[in-house]
């Protein structure tokens, strides 16, 4: 498979990559926000693990 085929996805590139970018934003966003929330907790309760 050529890289150009990979990017165009047989003409469906916008829809296929749109879906996976949405997944990255939603799940990646969840991870980032959760890490921030955890950091706020960790600051107070560092020595309990």
């Amino acid at each position: 498979m050529k890289w150009s085929e990979f990017f165009t996805q047989g003409g469906y590139g916008f829809y296929v990559w749109g879906s996976y970018i949405a997944a990255l934003v939603v799940l990646g966003g969840e991870v980032v926000l959760l890490m921030r929330r955890r950091k706020a907790c960790k600051r107070v309760g560092r020595d309990r693990d």
């Binding site: 469906y12 829809y15 879906s19 996976y20 969840e30 959760l34 929330r37 955890r38 907790c41």
Partner: protein, 241 residues
């Protein structure tokens, strides 16, 4: 070993911390393997072309949205019936991940619907019931945020979550009960799946990855919730001192 002792937030907190990497690391590996098979090994579909590759994220996201809802209702119910704080906290933790997967299933569904049906959205039975699922999650999360009396919010949330469970079989069977634009199930519990083995493999691996991801994320969030809700408890104030 007395397993019941882990029903206490103070005992569960460190245990959850130890469990997280055992789910997070395999999740990352399976996401990579699933996407590799999905994009480089699975062949182009003869009907839908490459647009069908949206399936590898769409179907697991839709399933997780439904599974996590049932799990959330279960824990909310246990927390209510047995006055178990940790169960209610688990329900709160599950709600956010479940809501996000449901949102993702709607968004990826729109991206799939446009090229295959010519529309981003229709008020089809499956899509409408999935949108209702998202609203149920949002309602549950809002209830938690709306009151300072945490246990009262937990009880109200449990009622909402349990009543809303009825929506899950409606989503699942909607493609059989009504004449929907949405296609029928690709994977059936009985009988052969209707897709090529590498397509099926990629989707099941992505589903496993989503499960492991959810477990890891829900445990991390549960630890935060335990910490935030039990701030005044002795085991936290002593540990932090």
């Amino acid at each position: 070993m007395n397993l019941y002792k882990y029903a206490a937030p103070a005992a569960f907190y460190p245990l959850a911390g130890k469990l997280i990497p055992w789910f997070a690391i395999p999740a990352a590996i399976l996401f990579a393997v699933g996407l590799y098979i999905g994009f480089f090994i699975a062949p182009t579909d003869f009907q839908q072309g490459d647009a069908y590759r949206i399936m590898f994220i769409h179907v697991p996201a839709a399933w997780m949205g439904m599974f996590l809802y049932v799990l959330m209702a279960f824990y909310a119910g246990i927390g209510w019936a047995f006055n178990a704080r940790l169960s209610s906290m688990m329900a709160s933790s599950l709600a956010i991940t479940g809501a996000l997967f449901t949102l993702l299933s709607l968004v990826t569904g729109a991206f799939w619907g446009k090229p295959t049906w010519g529309t981003w959205w229709v008020w089809d039975a499956r899509m409408t019931s999935t949108l209702i699922l998202l609203f149920l999650y949002v309602g549950f999360i809002s209830l938690q945020a709306a009151t300072d009396d945490q246990r009262r919010a937990d009880r109200a949330g449990a009622v909402l979550a349990l009543v809303g469970v009825i929506n899950v079989p409606i989503i699942y069977f909607s493609v059989q009960w009504w004449n929907t634009l949405h296609q029928g199930a690709t994977i059936r519990i009985l009988g052969k799946p209707s897709i090529a083995p590498p397509m099926l493999a990629a989707m099941l691996i992505m589903l496993a990855a989503c499960w492991l991801y959810s477990i890891a994320i829900v445990l991390i969030r549960l630890r935060c919730i335990i910490f935030e809700r039990e701030q005044s408890a002795a085991w936290i104030t002593e540990g932090a001192a």
